[in-house]
Amino acid sequence: MRIRPLAALILAALTITACSSGSSPSGAGRTVTLVTHDSFAVSKPVLRAFTKRTGITVKVLKSGDAGAALNQAILTKDDPLGDAFFGVDNTFLSRALGAGIFVPFTAKGLSRVPAAFRLDPRRRLTPIDYGDVCVNYDKAWFARQKLAVPRTLDDLADPQYKGRLVVENPATSSPGLAFLLATVARYGRDGWTDYWKRLRANDVKVVDGWEQAYDTEFSAGSGHGAQPLVVSYASSPPAEVYYADPKPTTAPTGVLTDTCFRQVELAGVLRGARHPEAARQLINFMLSEKFQADIPLQMFVFPARAGTPLPSVFTKFATVPRRPLWLAPAVIGAQRDNWIKQWTTTVLR
């Protein structure tokens, strides 16, 4: 046998495959499939608690970002991939509801959720978490330059901050889109393009996604870039503290609270689900205290349920803007693609 190496390789591969299939959990009970995007996260003990209480095992299916995951759910609406879906936000809400992929269901803890988050009066979608997209600033940079920290969106167009802001492309990035919506909410349908013209004249830097903006271009990011102002999240300062080792006593970054746009994330039972009852139980669980308390440190957003205790990095370092910018989901749904097109012409061409 001269072709032994090849045979050995195949054998090795088969062995590996055999081992792996042996270790899969052989759940005797029921399962429920949650379809979601890549940013969904939950800790293992919390998932186990759900299985222990209900006897239901959760299978999580992920694909792409929030937009891609929702589009896949719409594409498969005749034969859904799973039972429940998590990750519809207010920017895509009207597309999700328009496609009719969710069935109404009143989750157990819904009355504990502030009315402002209950975006679907017919209760096809249940709010799970919220967060704010805001301009973040590098505290050390502004201290070094002895420059006043900007406060408002208007300030960002001021020549003294020329070339200091990096934003994400709204066509490819969720925070980028939220920031575009913030400017529409602030300056109105007729004024927002003028504002972006001013930003462009002020050398705003546009990159494709959050990773490049924050990790590479932001001066307080790990890449020590050139821009001390970046479009990120209100929860970025606590995340900076949480992931740092050793932990600093103050956050290295701050948030411009007047620039924040609110994002609410919702979940629903998919129409045609094979296990609708299990899906309802899962969504009840997602609104329960246990799951809600797990949210901040897993996904770095805020629990939708009022009165959920927050971890100390959040209570110490997070900012919740009192009056975030907001647009009705229906308005966003009708204009989103149009606005992105206009933005591209105004800022990139």
Binding site: A13, V42, Q298
Partner: protein, 531 residues
């Protein structure tokens, strides 16, 4: 080979590609262009007449052509020194050269940006060369190391200088491999996604980024389908051109064992040439990689980031280091699928070329197509095509190695086919004359020679699967984190510590790739000189 055997060799790859590629793509194109049971070609007209989309199309074509030419020109000398010169550490260099090819774009993008290369056409071209250098070195080098040196020697004895020998003797002999490598590089650059977005910046758009935007963001399936048709047509045209250039005449080359054909560099010029090429690889490929490795040790230059990977942190269900095992498992499965399916296709194509059977061009094109079709198109196609038993694979983990195999199969075929085609028919005739039955001839001649090429292909397939990220992201998959997906997640968290961990995970991916390619190459080196 019996007739039944021949049919099986063709049927296997055709069935695999039909089910896991053609059907899903047709299904998703159908959703876009045949929305209510009637063909609607309006979106196609709309796409073809839109001036900004025309601009996108031409940019896609010429940046891919330019990237391909530069990669081939720079890669050929590299392929030469790594296949014809014998020197200490050659196997290691050959394995290391493969590393850039498998790194996720997000990671390389970060390294390029740290070096100040971004936001320009030059950055796009540089990145394309960086990623695809290994394709030329390995695909062309695979054949080059087996070329009989005697025709070149004869030419030189007859008075041809080095250049004439290269142009008149070596280049024609290498043509199938060069065109194979160029086709692969072209398809990769033509469907380039991450490089365009991350290194080009938001001002650059290709057909691929447009299809992604229309499908994943806007859910405008008609326009996405029209764009995909344009992409498909362009890719088919490119493949046809490559096929013509390759298929005019493939002569049997006297193949030699890899050891025989390589020599120690002799003379100052040879040494200088070797040094120049190794220097180029070191600077051009090594610098971005070094940036990543250095970052992985953090500001304090310690192993904190590596230690952190062994703990379960927020956003992960298990320690990120576990994804190494997941990745290795998928890579092993994908490699076996790719070798079996791609190997069958390579044998079928080699046989069809010998007897000039019809349809060989079609099979050849079908195999290459997965490289030229957008990952979003295939990923979304899986959803609506593979939805009923026994092929309800939409939510099965099996979908990941299958997707990886789709990308690896073209490599397996392109590496094996030039070698198979160049088998001197006299070897077979000699075996037959000596009394070997057809099956025995195939086993003892074709398969034996193929086994060696198959190992090169296996190394490639394994590496492709280890590093695959784009397609993995667009298919719906159960909660299994491969190493590139773990890197992406770590990059998605703020803070220097997370970034360092992403770089540490990238370093592990690099080491893993180099080690597995080296290991597989080892299998090859051990039986050198058997024929």
């Amino acid at each position: 080979m019996t007739r039944a055997g021949r049919v099986a060799l063709v049927a296997l790859p055709v069935a695999f590609l039909a089910v896991f590629f053609a059907w899903p793509v047709i299904a998703i194109l159908g959703r876009g262009l045949v929305p209510h049971g009637a063909l609607n070609l309006d979106p196609l007209g709309q796409v073809l007449t839109d001036p900004s989309l025309r601009h996108v199309f031409w940019f896609t074509v010429w940046q891919a052509l330019l990237s391909t030419v530069i990669t081939v020109v720079l890669g050929l000398p590299g392929a030469f020194v790594l296949s014809r010169y014998r020197f200490r550490g050659r196997t290691v260099v050959r394995a290391l050269v493969t590393v850039p090819f498998v790194l996720p774009t997000v990671v390389v993008g970060a390294a390029f940006r740290a070096l100040g290369v971004s936001g320009s056409l030059a950055a796009i071209l540089l990145a394309h060369v960086f990623f695809n250098y290994a394709v030329v070195v390995r695909t062309v080098g695979g054949l080059w190391s087996h070329l009989d040196p005697r025709p070149e020697e004869a030419a030189q004895v007859l008075g041809a200088n080095r250049w004439r020998t290269f142009v008149g003797v070596t280049l024609p002999a290498l043509r199938p491999a060069i065109i194979a490598a160029a086709s692969i590089v072209f398809l990769f650059c033509f469907t380039s996604f991450g490089v365009i977005l991350i290194l080009g910046g938001p001002r650059y758009a290709t057909l691929e980024t447009e299809i992604y935007r229309q499908t994943a963001q806007l859910l405008d399936l008609p326009v996405a389908a029209a764009l995909a048709v344009v992409q498909l047509a362009a890719v088919l045209a490119a493949l046809a051109a490559g096929g013509r250039a390759r298929g005019r005449r493939t002569e049997a080359l006297g193949l030699r064992a890899a050891g025989e054909a390589s020599v120690r560099p002799r003379g100052a010029r040879a040494h200088a040439f070797l040094a120049a090429n190794l220097g180029f690889m070191l600077v051009f490929l090594g610098t971005p990689l070094a940036v990543l490795v250095i970052r992985s040790f953090g500001a304090g230059f310690g192993f904190d980031a590596y230690r952190a990977l062994t703990r379960t942190s927020s956003g992960f269900l298990e320690p990120p280091i576990r994804s190494v095992w997941t990745s290795l498992r998928y890579a092993a499965i994908a490699t076996v699928i790719a070798l079996v399916v791609g190997g069958a296709a390579a044998f079928a194509l080699a046989g069809a070329h010998r007897s000039r059977r019809r349809g060989r061009g079609l099979l050849d094109a079908l195999i290459m197509l997965p490289l030229g079709v957008s990952a979003v198109t295939v990923g979304f196609g899986f959803l609506i095509a593979l939805d009923s038993p026994p092929l309800d694979l939409r939510t099965s983990p099996a979908i990941i190695p299958i997707a990886h195999a789709l990308i690896a199969i073209p490599f397996v075929v392109r590496v094996m086919l030039p070698v198979l085609q160049s088998i001197d028919p006299r070897l077979r005739e000699a075996a037959a004359v000596l009394g070997a039955a057809p099956r025995r001839v195939w086993l003892e001649v074709d398969l034996r020679i193929a086994a060696r090429a198959a190992l090169v292909a296996a190394g490639f397939a394994f590496a492709i699967s280890l590093g695959e990220f784009g397609a993995t992201l667009f298919i719906v998959r159960p909660e299994t984190t491969t190493l590139p997906v773990a890197i992406y997640r770590l990059l998605g968290r703020p803070g220097a510590a997370s970034y360092d961990q992403a770089m540490a995970a990238s370093t592990i991916l690099m080491v893993l790739t180099a080690a597995s390619v080296l290991l597989i190459e080892r299998l090859r080196v051990r039986d050198v000189g058997e024929f």
